[in-house]
């Protein structure tokens, strides 16, 4: 199929940037979206032009590096996928595809479609960890955990930190990301030691980093490639009040 792409080009963080139109012929519907961009870059390099910069690493929906805003939706029109998992089969012949970088004050554009997601690292540094003694891994069944809790912790723990929630939120809020981390640890005994400090420090960092406030709109849950539930946000709120009261 033949497609027309409208892609955001920006030389560096200082550049104003603009949309540039590219026509790409003979795109296979069996390609992934990133493979399609690879073939466009191949064409641009052969023409002696600057290829389009975009992030990617594992290309199997696990690392959280890729992430593009495609035709008004992060990671495109497919549900529950990262950008690298997006198939070209969802697009029609002759379709116009507009590709934008994540837009958020906390995620400034570095070049073209690459944004700086250091803000998420800072959030993790603020409290998204547990302190454990180094040494051999302890016996897995030494600490009994209720199956239901373990499952809920796992469902929150599969967050890959891609930033889709921030990108799609009308307020560019990072609440779903923070809630997934806080919830995951709050549900497990290993997370209890720092539970009180964790939630307070992470929320403080979230506010300082320039993310917006959650308005319970639910776009994050709808677009999250790992389908992290909005109920984690309620859990985060609960943990926050608990930490403040105690």
């Amino acid at each position: 199929m033949n497609i027309t792409l409208n892609i955001w080009r920006q030389i560096d963080s200082q550049d104003k940037g603009k949309f540039v139109e590219y026509k790409l012929d003979n795109v296979s519907s069996e390609m992934t979206f990133l493979e399609m961009l690879d073939s466009l870059n191949d064409k641009l390099i052969r023409e002696g032009k600057d290829p389009i910069a975009y992030d990617s690493d594992c290309r199997e929906g696990i690392c959280g590096m890729c992430g593009l805003y495609i035709n008004g939706r992060p990671n495109g029109p497919q549900k529950g996928v990262t950008t690298c998992q997006l198939s070209m089969s969802v697009f029609k012949d002759g379709e116009k595809i507009i590709v934008e970088p994540w837009r958020s004050k906390a995620f400034p554009v570095i070049k073209d479609l690459i944004v700086d997601r250091t803000a998420f690292d800072k959030l993790i540094q603020a409290g998204g960890f547990i302190s454990v003694n180094t040494g051999a891994a302890p016996e897995a069944n030494a600490i009994p955990i209720k199956k239901e809790k373990a499952e809920r912790a796992f469902d929150a723990g599969i967050c890959i930190g891609c930033g889709t929630c921030v990108a799609t939120c009308k307020n560019a809020s990072a609440m779903l990301f923070v809630s997934a981390k806080v919830s995951q640890f709050a549900l497990l005994p290993q997370g209890q030691v720092e539970a009180k400090e964790r939630v307070q420090k992470m929320i403080k960092a979230m506010d300082e980093l320039g993310f917006g406030n959650c308005t319970n709109t639910g776009a994050c849950e709808a677009e999250c490639p790992k389908e992290i539930s909005l109920s984690n946000i309620a859990h985060l709120n609960r943990e926050f009040y608990k930490a403040k009261v105690k």
């Binding site: 949309f19 805003y69 035709n71 008004g72 939706r73 507009i98 934008e100 837009r103 958020s104 004050k105 906390a106 799609t168 009308k170 307020n171 560019a172 809020s173 929320i203 403080k204 979230m206 506010d207 320039g210 993310f211 917006g212 406030n213 959650c214 308005t215 319970n216 709109t217 639910g218 776009a219 709808a222 677009e223 909005l230 109920s231 946000i233 309620a234 859990h235 985060l236 709120n237 609960r238 943990e239 926050f240 009040y241």
Partner: protein, 213 residues
């Protein structure tokens, strides 16, 4: 200024609590309004007089006004922060499946605020002596206003918008309070929807009946 108001979650908690208080107040107001349907003006005027003069209600009135002010100011602060969080907007608007009216809370809120000012000019400011009128006979004031087609239209539009505002409010307040349950949250959502439909509907019926009489 915002930092003195606490974290984002604290501000949202204030919004939710103020909102829930206003949600509790609406049915009380509606209950009194239903007395407007009686041909005898006495019960409504008595209720209005009671609401204006009983000391417990006077305290309630101050709390209610403060709640409105807090809900509005906190809402504006949160909204401004949210706008600032995305200085460069997307070219293509977001198509995500979301709670539709949650996207326009600031605008539905603004329309409700404008209606509130009109409402205050017609009733509350009369009571305070800021605007001329008979504070002893709000029954006839209301009846006269509802006979004006333009006023009736503004009234009905305002309550439709209020319904939109409320449709996101109810569950959202519970979510902010951290109240989430696999079994009861869907129930809360349904209750919220019922509330958002029937409360404005109640406010709808009264002026329409009066207008058609």
């Amino acid at each position: 200024m915002s930092r003195y108001l606490g974290s984002s979650i604290t501000k949202k908690l204030v919004m939710a609590l103020a909102g829930l208080f206003l949600i509790l107040f609406l049915p009380i107001h509606l209950g009194i309004n239903f007395m407007l349907l009686k041909s005898d003006p006495e019960p409504f005027n008595k209720a209005a007089y009671f609401m204006a003069n009983f000391w417990v209600i006077k305290i309630f009135e101050v709390v209610l006004l403060a709640t409105f002010v807090i809900h509005i100011i906190w809402g504006i602060i949160l909204q401004i922060q949210n706008w600032l969080a995305r200085p460069i907007r997307y070219k293509v608007p977001n198509y995500s499946q979301t709670s539709f009216f949650s996207k326009f809370m600031i605008w539905t809120g603004l329309i409700i605020f404008i209606f509130l000012i009109i409402h205050f000019m017609n009733f509350y400011f009369i009571k305070l002596g800021l605007v001329k009128g008979d504070p002893e006979n709000f029954y006839s004031v209301a009846h006269q206003l509802f006979k004006i087609p333009a006023y009736l239209a503004i009234y009905l539009i305002s309550f439709t918008i209020l319904g939109f505002h409320l449709s996101h409010s109810f569950w959202s307040a519970f979510q902010t309070l951290g109240w989430d349950h696999p079994k009861y949250t869907p129930l809360i959502k349904i209750l919220g929807l019922i509330y958002a439909i029937f409360i404005p509907l109640g406010f709808f019926i009264i002026p329409i009946i009066i207008y058609l009489k």
